[in-house]
Symmetry: D2
Subunit: 354 residues, 4 copies
Amino acid sequence: MRAIRKVAPGPGLEMAEIPLPVPGMGEVLLQVKAASICGTDLHVRNWDPWAAEHAVAPLTVGHEMCGIVVGHGSGVTDPPIGTLVSVESHVVCGVCSWCRTGKGHLCPETRILGVHRDGVFADFVTVPAANAWPDPEDMPLSIASLQENFGNAVHTVSVPEIEGRKVLVTGCGPVGVMAVAAAKALGARSVYATDVSAFRRAMADRMGADATFDASTVDVVSAVLAVTDGEGVDVLLEMSGAARAIDNGLRLLKPGGEAALLGLTSRPITLDIDDRVIFKGATLHGIVGRRLWDTWYQMRALLRGGKVDLGPMVTHRLSLEDFDMAFDLMASGNTGKVVLFPDPTDADGPLYRP
Amino acid sequence: MRAIRKVAPGPGLEMAEIPLPVPGMGEVLLQVKAASICGTDLHVRNWDPWAAEHAVAPLTVGHEMCGIVVGHGSGVTDPPIGTLVSVESHVVCGVCSWCRTGKGHLCPETRILGVHRDGVFADFVTVPAANAWPDPEDMPLSIASLQENFGNAVHTVSVPEIEGRKVLVTGCGPVGVMAVAAAKALGARSVYATDVSAFRRAMADRMGADATFDASTVDVVSAVLAVTDGEGVDVLLEMSGAARAIDNGLRLLKPGGEAALLGLTSRPITLDIDDRVIFKGATLHGIVGRRLWDTWYQMRALLRGGKVDLGPMVTHRLSLEDFDMAFDLMASGNTGKVVLFPDPTDADGPLYRP
Amino acid sequence: MRAIRKVAPGPGLEMAEIPLPVPGMGEVLLQVKAASICGTDLHVRNWDPWAAEHAVAPLTVGHEMCGIVVGHGSGVTDPPIGTLVSVESHVVCGVCSWCRTGKGHLCPETRILGVHRDGVFADFVTVPAANAWPDPEDMPLSIASLQENFGNAVHTVSVPEIEGRKVLVTGCGPVGVMAVAAAKALGARSVYATDVSAFRRAMADRMGADATFDASTVDVVSAVLAVTDGEGVDVLLEMSGAARAIDNGLRLLKPGGEAALLGLTSRPITLDIDDRVIFKGATLHGIVGRRLWDTWYQMRALLRGGKVDLGPMVTHRLSLEDFDMAFDLMASGNTGKVVLFPDPTDADGPLYRP
Amino acid sequence: MRAIRKVAPGPGLEMAEIPLPVPGMGEVLLQVKAASICGTDLHVRNWDPWAAEHAVAPLTVGHEMCGIVVGHGSGVTDPPIGTLVSVESHVVCGVCSWCRTGKGHLCPETRILGVHRDGVFADFVTVPAANAWPDPEDMPLSIASLQENFGNAVHTVSVPEIEGRKVLVTGCGPVGVMAVAAAKALGARSVYATDVSAFRRAMADRMGADATFDASTVDVVSAVLAVTDGEGVDVLLEMSGAARAIDNGLRLLKPGGEAALLGLTSRPITLDIDDRVIFKGATLHGIVGRRLWDTWYQMRALLRGGKVDLGPMVTHRLSLEDFDMAFDLMASGNTGKVVLFPDPTDADGPLYRP
């Protein structure tokens, strides 16, 4: 079968023919129908320090996907053959104290598809049956694929108290934009968003932001104070990993406010703990992955309940063969989600033509 | 009456005669029976940058006290004349959104006794009636005085989930030591504590720590891992404000753990948000003051319920006249609480003799 | 001034001339601009057993209102003269453990306007300044008046976890209908409602219910299971006080579900604790009044944030002089909120013509 | 092997020889070392209406046990052969929304050992590997056996907020008595308990109750008010299932209090929802089983942390052969836990001699 591979440590990816994987005990074999690109995939392609430290090679990359169950490993009967499923990319141990108490997203033994084991940019992939999440038959494939990424947004939004609150989202990459939509759907009073990219701010506007600000030209603190009667916000959803965004976001937090931090800073940052955290009695929540499996049920509620429409998030559809162009598009910053289709006739919208 | 005064900006304190204050509308006049020294008072005495920025002068210093209600301002009938009361030193506005929703400790209009308005190292003081907390008649005066400081500890302990948890307290000043006792009383499985001072570690041991470590000579991370089966702790109570203690404490936090931060760092610190907060899904709580008035009710439960004995915390009793010696003792670091008595015959234990 | 009075124990109300009240210490004098009728007012008018036990006479009735601050008692400066305010009808002591910890709605000393002290169906009324909630100048008077009642709905909705959940509202009186709207605005996945009145079900539909059911002709359990894939609901908001509605609602609750109970049953009911509560690990929350003052801030978020439009709730506007007709309309069950205007030229919509 | 069997529907039990069970996929084979008797076992022995409805026959009874792992079904490697384990008696599906979100105790597919599938009063039993909880090697066998029952107590105590609270336990069967101990260990300010049996009240006293009351001769409401300054309690832990105990307990609950209901009432009861729940803003929590697996980790903290000593709970040790006498003892009400040993030389204390 075809697979997009990191053949050895170092930059670059290539398409290769590799043997069809065989599902082990407790696993399913999936035929990939759609697979979307995430920022992590760019790190692996570039083999930056994070990737060099965390990823293995050789490796099939990619971790966001949907597909059809086409084989069962031993002991597996569910989901049945033929089921459309999305995939949770974090493979957890199932027996540690975190896994056994509804906190599997914190499992220290987590193995990630496309980082620690073969991923989903391929014709087929094997995953634990527990990681295959059945979707409605009529869910568009691109949306089924990007659910995994949507889960990061939903997880972030679900941790602080959001009902009736004023919310600031710093960073309008796909997760930030989806967080805007989720926050509005889950009862936020108003949602403001910042980004340096006009394209991304426009995405945030389209997905429901009450106002967006260009962090490169506007004094974000003044701008957000101006739209919040000088009060600031109750909740910060930090998606950028930028030290300045974190500092500004915490400045804008009202006393007693909550910040959910998802964006990785890549390096230690300088933080005024006294004024940004202690004196204002703020709470900071580190967010990783999706809550297993609360977040998936929350996504189901948002999507099936019609409260969030992820359609506008999918800006580019390409054939798996065109993965290089797809990665370049994603790297440009001027995209929503970029989705690959192993069989381009499966595309649920027009294919991208450069 | 006598009062310990900061007569003008700059270092030093002196005892002065000033007029008896008159309680305003909603206030009570208190005769001070005992008053304990806090680290904040040392800052004001030294007139360090924090004090220069926050405190006013002229000013009567001190904010931890108990006393007897001896006068009522207009509109006040409670607590009745003759009642022994402890004092909450944060005077809040009562009408902002925080005050009106049980979060008065976050009131932006907070005025602190001995910092923003005349404090308690004096024969008499006026405070809002709402800030006078009735004590049992038989409560020792020194303990009634230090309740306010105990409240910092109880507030810190009450924010993370503590029941059945392994807890690390970094910093064994009086608040840290009292946090050890409160954590044990409120169901912590085990409490470990660190400090560079042998005197303070001994205080922590005496108040119930399962083990204490000398942060100046021991690798705290290794030491705490060794006593926790290599797991680390569920909860960090940070009382030192030291960047290294914060870093070590967060390193030791298990995935999903909680840190309550009370110790002020004085300056911005460098923090590895990715590894210390995000990847481990940690939660950081900034802690300021006491919850108004939940913390006071919690203290009542701990003290009247006999779950915490603060007696050993009081290591030095002096006459108010000996305030200079008392401040020097406190500054040495080798004390628990140092308590001043305007009338030394009120002392509930032997007076300190150098 | 004019006031609608219960002159002595027994049924009936009459309009009387009484002296203008004088605001005491801490109180404001309000000129009533609009006042809406609540079910409680009907109880007082009828002098049923509940009223005979709880209400005093002579008494000016009514407790939902908005008005203008026209006088200050001693010690009061806020809200300023001329401010449009809504009124919280529960006058609490301010000093008990509940009042001091953000749970004033549970104050054992609660005195209710129009029940325990003179109410708002009058030209003027005095209330504690703390009970006067400033409104935006452009808020329609009828909506400003019914905020107090909306608060019951918002309080009920805010107690269980509502985000992304399937919700059942049993009982579509005004509070039930407003709970439908609040639940949708605060992120409920879907909201179903039951009532025996077609008029009230139509109100619920209009305010956003996903489906409504006639409890008098439909098997509610089957009907709700049919629209929830046989699963039932996550949350029950019980507004009817009917034993059968409670039983059906708890039957429909999924394991681990939450029920918020606002509707009074008037007499003890029979309940299968084992099957309805214990085996399903359900949680039942008793709901009384509005959280002081969290609920008012939540209302502000919903109304100013444009998340709920209460306009359709106001179905009848009448002059205060026509109070008897207004009470009869309210008693018919075929109304939303019925609002009285002391000065009919203040009406923010056409006056009702029979 | 030997097993205590219900051979057919109807009263009675007998010891029989049956084939050694074979562990299926995902299961372990355990050699039973100690097994304790629970009230449920008495129901099954008597074949009362509950048992007739829920239990199957033929059946090996019993569900509380510890034992040694002596065999692995396919796919199992943990816990290793030779490990001492306690058993969680609720076998859950692992794939429903409850199991996947840390709420496995609410799994609708729950099968209980000794009720729905063969239980533990036998020489050997098979259980899912996930239900085998490794114990420290030096844990006394009787305590390892009764952990499952302790879990009911710990679960009940862990649901309401218990830190610093006044607590009432109604019903001092083994679970009630262990709840007294757990509540004290987890920070309750004071714990009061009621029962009609002097033996059981003495057990509660021994395990840490601040005061106990004879519900058959004392006015419990007056008695508890007398020891709580007339305030009542913050938390009710209801273990009796008696309608009067529930009513008294809820009467004694302070406004805003929480009740955790574990005791089954067997039949619907009459409850004054208005006065007992709504007006006081009370919260009622139905409690079933143990939280999977939070409760087991909490037990580990309490037992390994030395915060609870369950030793006094074990009042009778008998050989498995003497099961009839053991059941009679348990039925008398004058016991703590009664523990059976398949090999009487394993007994960790003197065997009972009548």
